[in-house]
Symmetry: C2
Subunit: 144 residues, 2 copies
Amino acid sequence: MNILFLLTPKSDCAYVREEDTIRQALERMSAAGFAAVPILAKDGTYRGTLTEGDLLWAIKKLYLMDMKEAESHGIMEIQRRKDNQAVSVTTPVEDLLTTAVDQNFVPVVDDRGTFIGIVTRKAIMQYCMDTYIFAKRAQPVHAG
Amino acid sequence: MNILFLLTPKSDCAYVREEDTIRQALERMSAAGFAAVPILAKDGTYRGTLTEGDLLWAIKKLYLMDMKEAESHGIMEIQRRKDNQAVSVTTPVEDLLTTAVDQNFVPVVDDRGTFIGIVTRKAIMQYCMDTYIFAKRAQPVHAG
């Protein structure tokens, strides 16, 4: 088992080029619909990661935005790409994992629908590693 | 083992309120440093997820941005929050998992540093589930 088994090859990846302008990056990221993409040099080497957040804060700075407009609109007027699916606090952990595969965090609600916190993918991956992978390594080897 | 074990409680979560303006959301998200946060109603119920990308595309639309400025700046001038760490294609899968805990995808390079693709957290979580969790369920039960 090696990394190639899990790889999304370059031909199927969205990316930006280091010589791109902010406008080109906006267009590429808008088309791709990803929150973060790799930045590649002309010779194909990896240079870093560009996120929608990087573009957001850059544009805010670049345009010295007049905040009056932003003050007069509520966030519920904004079009959201996708709401993360919430789970009940009584959901079994294995079902939580299935939900977490498609989103960066899982909101958790109590039985009245009140938000009580989130489970991050980081916490889940750490749990998977501790429980299954490192636990497996730590097991004594039984003779056949 | 239940979800509470993995929970980041509300008191430690960044979130926005559904009555927030775009300006308030920008300030909260800038301070929190997260790419996505939950949206909560006044009564504490979960309403959805707001991402930096949602704000980016909303602002682009709201301000009918003059793209001349965005055309005259290259993306390498932008301050990036954090570059995802790349791994070599020969990295063992278990080390890949350790890298993936802290980033949403892992860029993969060959031995000359050329980008050959990415491994997504989604692929990794799917792999963990298939290999460890569902495999465990499928194992026959041995009598003591």
